[in-house]
């Protein structure tokens, strides 16, 4: 596994821990909740620091330690991802290409008719 993938997996595992906990956590508490137990304290700290820098995690001082919590819920991020994907943010960047846009009205009717014709002529669909 490449370093980048490994780092990504760690970020994801640690965000999962943060999302699944209601309170903010110290590095030690995050380590304890990870399924992969033999991680170095500094590794977890580095990844949490990265997540904070990227804006995915927020941190606050608690005595001498930092406590971390997610900056937003998992659902918020999924919604952001999907809004961009469906081009409904109103921001027409050339960032990604969608398979097909949603259609409405007459065009949708025409398409539904077309699908019925194909399904009628097809020799059995595999799946669905």
């Amino acid at each position: 596994m490449t370093t980048v993938n490994r780092l990504g997996e760690l970020e994801r595992a640690i965000m999962d821990v943060l999302w699944d906990t209601d309170t903010s956590l110290t590095v030690r508490e995050v380590s304890a909740r990870l399924t992969e137990r033999n991680l170095a304290h500094t590794t977890v700290m580095t990844v949490l620091d990265r997540l904070a820098k990227k804006g995915f995690a927020r941190r606050e001082r608690d005595g001498r330690a930092w406590r971390y919590c997610p900056a937003a819920t998992r659902e918020t991020y999924v919604t952001e991802l999907m809004l961009t994907a469906l081009d409904q943010t109103g921001d027409r960047t050339a960032a990604l290409t969608r398979f097909a846009q949603s259609v409405t009205g007459v065009e949708a009717e025409v398409l539904r008719d077309a699908l019925e014709v194909i399904e009628g002529s097809g020799e059995g669909d595999d799946g669905n």
Binding site: A85, T97, F99, A114, L115
Partner: protein, 325 residues
Amino acid sequence: MTGIEDAALLAVVAIGSALGASALPRASWPRRCPAAAILLWQALGLASGLAAVGTMIGLALPASQGGLVLSMLRAAGLLRDGELFGLARWFGLSQADGAPLVLVAVRLACLAAGLALLVSLCWVLLAASVAALQARRRQRALLTLLAHGDPKVPGALVVDHPSAAAYCLPGLRSRSRIVVSVGALELLGRGELAAVLAHERAHLRERHDLVLLPFTALRRAFPKSATCTGAQRAVALLVEMLADDRALRGGPARELVSALVRFGTAGTCPAPAGALAVAEGSEGEVAARVTRLLQPARPLPAVAVTAVCLAAALLVAAPVTLLIV
């Protein structure tokens, strides 16, 4: 050749390209050979930009100074040597040679307009590239945290969301991603999913995003221009058709068509009120792709394809020659 003659020829190229770009969306042959049509679109874009800049700079230049590029190099030499007065005289921008003040002012205005156009075109392209790269980086970061694999769609990432979405994030080989939502997995059968993946892989492999980028940049820069909007929509549709054609190599058209129809009619996620208005740009595009797949037109004959490629080459060669020679 004089600056004015150059400018006149370049103006003809610029106006011709612009007229061509506003007529091309209405032509029906492009969907019979999307690749050749895309090449022609690129040539039209490049030629009109170069020629428009060249026209204005050509008007600013004095007579008999060789090509525009050579003239600009000579001007840059004078500028480097600090001979600002010499530069101004050489450009005909001073009254020392008895040039009327009006002519000097017109030349100066043309030079400024030409350079401003050149800079703004480059800027628009750069800004669009940066915006796209940033949006993709954000998407990749989010996907790292949220997406997972699924045996139903090998090589793609799955996002847990009920509405149907399938898209690709272009980039260098290791950075490109194909993303499918759980809604799409539920909506489509195995064959349909394979067709969608083949379509998206074609986008990534052939870097269709790079083809589309300059047209998207122009559309964003000139949202009121019907030509820019029409060009971007036409090229976006052609790129989809090209990817559809590639997807057909791996499976029957039926799977791709039913995937398209299911996607098109599935509706979208409950977006905030008003957000759906963005879909206005898609009118007829899915239907056009479906019609094309169901009733394939005869492919464009080789002679016609050659003619289109030749026209594209000439279109770019004309302003480049005028600018250099």
